[in-house]
Amino acid sequence: MSADDGAEAANERTERNVKRFLFVNRKAPYGTIYALEALEVVLISAAFDQDVTLVFLDDGVCQLKKGQQTKETGMKNFSPTYRALEGYDIEKLYVEKESLEHRGLTADDLLVPVKVLTTEEIGALMDQQDIVISF
């Protein structure tokens, strides 16, 4: 994580009219639609060439759990889309360590490679954004 990417990068962003977008995912998947529809915004944001970061904390970490099989519930399994993010150059995926641990999970349980950050680091990351969209 480049906590502070310096004045040079900031200037470049301003010139290109690029903002730092942070999508904060805090809800479990399926019980509510927020995770699925959040992902739709994230995919669209890729087309705008912005500086996009995704953070998963609280129950949001559960969105990335491996092995989702929705058939019997009748709902659509949207989890493969997380694997597609890389193809859209959305590569900054951060997951909160404490949230994982509290839910008995580790990074090995997740379906995409992520960077695990502490609460403190997530707090710092939030501070550096221009736009925060929370679900």
Partner: protein, 102 residues
């Protein structure tokens, strides 16, 4: 009379499970559905509380909702019984009434 209590919200996000556990009487049943199925998993910050609940109440979890969320059935807390929708129906039949902690 015995009650089937249903809970559908994540135990990490809301206090619904807590409230249900405080009110559920000995011999009643608790069924975890939707986002409440996380409460059935072992090695979490709340597994112990669910283990406590098992002493007085029967705890069930909806298998299809575990599967949807990628939660391995073998990681479910010992003593919690996994049911499908048919099992949910049976539980509703077997108890005198159903009370949702929505």
């Amino acid at each position: 009379m015995t009650i089937l209590h249903t809970i559908n919200k994540s135990p990490f996000q809301t206090t619904d499970l807590d409230s249900c556990l405080r009110h559920a009487r000995k011999g009643s049943a608790i069924l975890l559905i939707e986002d409440a199925v996380y409460a059935a998993m072992g090695n979490t910050g709340i597994s112990e509380r669910v283990g406590e609940a098992l002493k007085n109440t029967n705890v069930y979890v909806l298998g299809p909702d575990l599967d949807a969320r990628g939660l391995e059935r073998e990681r479910v807390v010992r003593g919690v019984e996994i049911v499908d929708y048919g099992g949910f129906v049976d539980l509703a039949v077997e108890h005198d009434h159903v009370q949702a902690w929505v």
